[in-house]
């Protein structure tokens, strides 16, 4: 799996394609400081008012910290979080 991802990543780099188009890398979009869209996550790990964590590809972890956080929608590999955002970290 890792090798397959690595090959896909190399192909994407060779043809100057966005990484998420060729691999399962998560894409994180922050809008206006109060909304985060995470595409390509691997499942929810933690859910609290001040932190939400989701699993990324290859054992990575997406950590959203903030205040009054809320899981607005979740479907398939997409989730939308709203609230007052402090940070979005990729561990």
């Amino acid at each position: 799996m890792n090798m397959k991802q690595s090959v896909a990543g190399r192909v994407a780099a060779r043809f100057d394609l966005p990484a998420e188009a060729a691999s399962a890398a998560p894409r994180i979009t922050i809008s206006g400081g109060d909304r985060v869209l995470v595409e390509g996550h691997r499942g929810l790990l933690e859910y609290g008012e001040d932190r939400i964590a989701a699993a990324g590809a290859g054992g990575s972890r997406i950590l959203i910290k903030g205040d009054a956080l809320r899981l607005r929608t979740m479907r398939g590999r997409e989730l939308v979080v709203t609230g007052r955002l402090w940070s979005v970290e990729l561990e």
Binding site: L44, L45, Y47, G48, R70, L71, M74, R75
Partner: protein, 405 residues
């Protein structure tokens, strides 16, 4: 709330089990959409999901060891489900909607504004002849045709319009008024008084004042002459404009039988009701609604309407028959009535431009009659434009100083 969610309906679910975060991931993996999931508390998570996914969520949650409870169901399917159980409100709602839709295209109430001299009854009759009547359809009604038809039938109406507010027709009317000043603008004229009195002040805006403060004048006497004067005397004829304030004294007397009886309520009354549906009525009483002798009939109609939005063709009419009998009237009351009538007559005569300065009252009885006299001192504004006669015009030309050649 998104319209598709309202249309398809949604349920608020409360899932209690060992790992609520994992349940959210499982639901997401299975492609079940959900939203507004609250942070889990005490092994419990609340979320909203489409109504049609409820059974599936319940099965998946049960497989994960969760107990699912529906807190609320919302949206159109939920409303329809409630209406299925309670059919009477649904039928009434549908009936009201049908009545509103059916009645919207018809006139159920006519409100008339702006009439002073033309009786409302005559106007309603003319409107009915032109197609604006209770129960008639207003869709396709031509404003111009109605206006022209009514103005042809009632020449005292100068302009009118009919606007629809729901099922209420609002008729706004402007009546024809007699011309205030019949003298053509370019004609030479004097300003004369139509009252007798003592001149308090003269205000000549054009022309020459012929009277001054303290002068006594009689009706027809010239206040402002129709000629202009300058440094060298009379310059020529003009159309005089202006007015004068007069102190006037007016005596008014009223008489009435000293001993009389008057119809007054005896305290007995009977109230009946009728339901008016369109132009039909259902009486909730026996017999006729004609007023019996010695009774007054008072009608009050309450319409089922939301003013300005819609008017339903349903109205409740409340008719009260009040018995009246002859009651002797005391002389003091009679005197007060006569005084009030005299004041009203004086007010009518003074109009907007006159005012009462002082009043003296006297009353006496003679041959079974009560007389009341009002002696009033008033201040009135007078000034009537009267065209110069040929003789008057010749007199003006006579006054113009001759120059020697």
């Amino acid at each position: 709330m998104r319209p598709d969610r309202v249309l398809l309906g949604w349920a608020e679910l409360r899932c209690t089990g060992p790992d609520p975060v994992r349940l959210l991931t499982v639901l997401s993996d299975r492609g079940i959409p959900f939203w507004d999931a609250a942070p889990p508390e005490d092994f419990c998570v609340t979320l909203r999901a489409p109504l049609r996914q409820f059974r599936r969520i319940e099965r998946i949650a049960a497989a994960e060891g969760f107990e699912t409870v529906v807190s609320a169901k919302r949206g159109l399917p939920a409303v329809l489900s409630v209406l299925r159980r309670r059919w009477l409100p649904a039928v009434l709602l549908a009936l009201a909607a049908f009545l509103i839709l059916w009645s919207e295209a018809r006139i159920w109430n006519i409100r008339i504004e702006g009439t002073e001299r033309v009786p409302d009854g005559l106007l309603r009759q003319a409107l009915a002849e032109c197609g604006v009547d209770i129960g008639s359809r207003w869709v396709g009604m031509s404003q111009d045709a109605v206006r022209n038809g009514v103005i042809l039938r009632l020449p005292d109406i100068r302009w009118m319009t009919v606007t629809m507010e729901g099922s209420s027709a609002r008729v706004i009317v402007r009546e024809r008024r007699p011309r205030q000043d019949p003298v053509p603008e370019r004609e030479y004229a004097d300003v004369v008084t139509d009252r007798a009195g003592l001149v308090a002040a003269v205000y000549p805006l054009r022309g020459t004042a012929e009277v001054g403060p303290g002068d006594a004048v009689l009706p027809g006497e010239t206040l402002i002459g129709g000629y202009a004067t300058g440094r060298f005397g009379v310059q020529g004829p003009v159309r005089a404009i202006g007015y004068a304030d007069l102190r006037t004294w007016i005596d008014l007397t009223a008489a009435a039988p000293a001993e009389a009886s008057e119809k007054r309520g005896t305290g007995e009354s009977r109230t009946v009701f009728a339901l008016i549906f369109g132009d039909k009525r259902i009486n909730f009483y026996k017999g006729s609604s004609i007023c019996p002798p010695g009774c007054d009939k008072i009608n009050k109609v309450r319409r089922l309407e939301l003013p300005g939005v819609f008017t339903l063709p349903i109205a409740l009419e409340r008719t009260e028959f009040v018995s009246r009998g002859l009651v002797p009237v005391r002389a003091e009351e009679r005197g007060e009535e006569l005084s009030a009538a005299l004041l009203a007559a004086l007010d009518d005569r003074l109009g907007d431009t006159g005012k009462l300065v002082a009043a003296e009252w006297s009353s006496w009885e003679e041959d079974g009659w009560l007389f009341v006299t009002l002696s009033a001192e008033c201040r009135e504004r007078v000034g009537v434009t009267v065209p110069l006669t040929e003789a008057g015009l010749a007199a003006v030309y006579e006054k113009i100083p001759k120059t020697e050649e």
